[in-house]
């Protein structure tokens, strides 16, 4: 059971997994179940579509978007990553389902601004753990701009997914 103090000490993170199937969700769940995530109030959502830039801009807490990369129709995804990763408080991690796809697209994904490129489900945990310090650093900076009540509100567990992601969002 989470104590109130633990709740208040945690860094809130909205973690959105964008995938068409259920290829990566197991890796994500395993990752956030590891002890390193205990310091974070993580609210996980799955969606087949990436969040809009306006949704990301309005978010008051750091947002980590893990997005599945497909070879077909890569251009819109690259464009989205380029725009999303420029927003303050947004971190994008690209998930490629094989080394071959990564070899093809990794330079472009990094050029677009993906912070990590993950090649297999087993690599999700270490990649996500390695972006946490940056997220925490950003949150400490932004937290000062929140009103005390807002600061409390964003730490409460469980997201109001319907309001954030529209009907397409599903709780996990």
């Amino acid at each position: 059971m989470t104590s109130a103090q633990e709740l208040l000490d945690r860094t809130p993170i909205d973690l959105t997994l964008v995938e068409s199937g259920e290829c990566w969700i197991a890796g994500i769940r395993r990752a956030i179940a590891s002890p390193v995530w205990e310091r974070y109030a993580t609210r996980l959502e799955c969606s087949p579509q990436p969040p809009t830039l306006q949704q990301l801009r309005l978010s008051k807490v750091p947002t980590l978007v893990c997005v599945e990369v497909e070879l077909r129709d890569a251009l819109p995804l690259l464009q989205w990553i380029a725009e999303a990763s420029e927003l303050s408080g947004v971190v994008v991690v690209a998930l490629c389902d094989s080394r071959r796809q990564c070899a093809l697209l990794e330079p472009a994904l990094r050029e677009a601004g993906a912070l990590r490129v993950v090649e297999e489900v087993g690599g999700v945990a270490s990649a996500l753990a390695s972006v946490l310090p940056g997220i925490e650093q950003d949150w400490r900076r932004r937290e000062g701009g929140l009103a005390p009540l807002e600061s409390l509100w964003v730490r409460l567990p469980w997201r109001k997914h319907a309001a954030r992601l529209g009907a397409g969002g599903k709780p996990t």
Binding site: Q54, L105, P107, A112
Partner: protein, 453 residues
């Protein structure tokens, strides 16, 4: 006549151009016919790494290492065909159909690719697309289009303005552009350091290099090693928050740059939290060898220190929103004077990045043609009043009401999280179902306590 019999000799002697690529994209076999076709000696080609994302050079020698890259589908285990184009020294383009065959291990992992070209070039005007199918490399085209768009879109926009600070920073960036040397971009958080560094990369018109961006916060040494191994020259490394690299990682980066002898350019960024001196290396938390490489430094000014540039920056972001609208969509002229006055009364702790978000939010609200003060977020609507008012004594908190609203919010969220199942919601909240029902009833009896501030 003696004919070669060993498999490699057979390939080497074939009249059709043939080459073999290993799983690291290195050319491991090149026959004479291919060397003749690309006009490069065999010994210069074997062992070289193909750079899939390289743009053909604008000037200078042909870049056959990019031209010989296989289409993406070839690595997926399917036999693939495409037209390979190479540019000769006289700048004429030769086109030839190639087949790519994947060599797989028993675990279906790619060992390499065998590329086999037709014995003759395509004549000018001869279709490259077969009837009913595509020979084109769609992904390659998309990546190239993305790079072109990025190169066009990324300008030195964070430095737009006529303030002395902006002009000084822009002059230093111009030196970096002309010299092509390594560069450190410093600035307060949100001042656009990465954007400026990217713009420096793309502004180099001779640049055939791939841009490898990575953030040094939390980057393990092993991952940096892995990344540097993949970033073959020519390339530009953009290391964001370079001061977060550990000592060992910084030394590794410096050694790698030394080894590549100019084939790899380093652009680095760093947040500053206060004034930064013009730059004795020891003032920065960098390894001396790395600090020496990054001797050219640009310090971006804080937006709050150059508010005279704010109107131009705000207008730039409005134009960017206008450009992003679909055809026939909303087009706004800019900010009216009252709105601009509110913006210039603000302290901008989030710098240029915050301004971009505020403009986007106001743009979405505005009905046009001008963005007015009422379209700004509440913070800005009240900024002038706040600036002119003495700080009020701390407002007292109604603790009972606050705790009740938090409780209600948590119960609502738990029920939603549990998909409406109240037993599950009670479990999530660590209470009995009966107690949850009592709490809900008490809220229904007293609807005054609302959630979400």
């Amino acid at each position: 006549m003696d004919r070669p019999s060993a498999p490699l000799e057979l390939l080497a002697a074939a009249a059709s151009p043939v080459y073999l690529i290993d799983s690291h994209w290195r050319l491991t076999l090149v026959n004479q016919a291919l060397a003749d076709w690309v006009e490069a000696p065999v010994e210069q080609l074997v062992g070289r790494r193909l750079a899939y994302h390289s743009e053909p050079l604008q000037d200078g020698a042909p870049n056959c290492l990019a031209d010989l890259c296989p289409p993406p589908g070839a690595w997926l285990g399917e036999e693939t065909r495409c037209v390979v184009e190479v540019q000769r020294a006289d700048r004429r383009v030769r086109r030839r159909r190639f087949r790519f065959l994947t060599l797989l291990t028993s675990q279906n992992e790619p060992l390499g690719l065998l590329a086999w070209g037709e014995p003759r070039d395509l004549s000018p005007g001869e279709p490259t697309e077969p009837a009913g199918g595509s020979w084109s490399d769609e992904l390659h085209r998309q990546v190239r289009q993305f790079r072109r768009e990025r190169a066009a879109a990324l300008a030195l926009d964070p430095l737009i303005g006529s303030s002395t600070a902006a002009r000084q920073a822009a002059a230093l960036v111009q030196i970096a552009l002309r010299s092509g040397c390594d560069l450190l971009v410093l600035g307060p958080p949100g001042s656009g350091q990465q954007r400026v560094a990217c713009a420096v990369h793309y502004a180099d018109r001779k640049n055939d290099a791939v841009l490898w961006r990575f953030d040094c916060v939390g980057l393990p040494l092993g991952e940096l090693e892995h990344l540097l191994a993949k970033a073959a020259p020519p390339c530009t490394l953009l290391a964001a928050n370079i001061d977060h690299l550990g000592a060992e990682s910084q030394q590794l980066l410096a050694r790698t740059l030394d080894r590549q002898q100019g084939g790899v350019r380093l652009l680095a960024t760093m947040d500053t939290h206060g004034p930064v001196g013009s730059g004795a290396p020891e003032q920065l938390p960098l390894d001396p060898s790395l600090a020496a490489k990054l001797s050219l430094r640009v310090c971006l000014p804080a937006l709050a220190e150059r508010l005279e540039d704010l109107p131009a920056l705000a207008q730039l972001f409005v134009e960017r929103e206008n450009a992003a609208q679909p055809e026939g969509g909303k087009q706004l002229a800019g900010f009216d004077s009252a709105a601009l006055q509110r913006l210039t009364s603000y302290a901008w702790p989030g710098d240029v990045a915050q301004l971009a978000v505020v403009v986007a939010t106001a743009y979405a609200t505005a009905k046009g043609p001008w963005i007015t003060a009422s379209d700004l977020p509440p913070t800005f609507r009240h900024s002038q009043v706040a600036a002119a008012t003495r700080p009020a004594p701390p407002e007292p908190v109604d603790l009972d009401s606050l705790l009740r609203s938090v409780e209600r919010e948590l119960i609502d969220r738990a029920i939603e999280q549990a998909g409406g199942n109240r037993s599950e919601a009670a479990r999530l909240l660590g209470m009995t179902r009966a107690r949850l029902y009592r709490r809900i009833e008490s809220f229904e009896a007293d609807p005054a306590s609302e959630g979400d501030p």
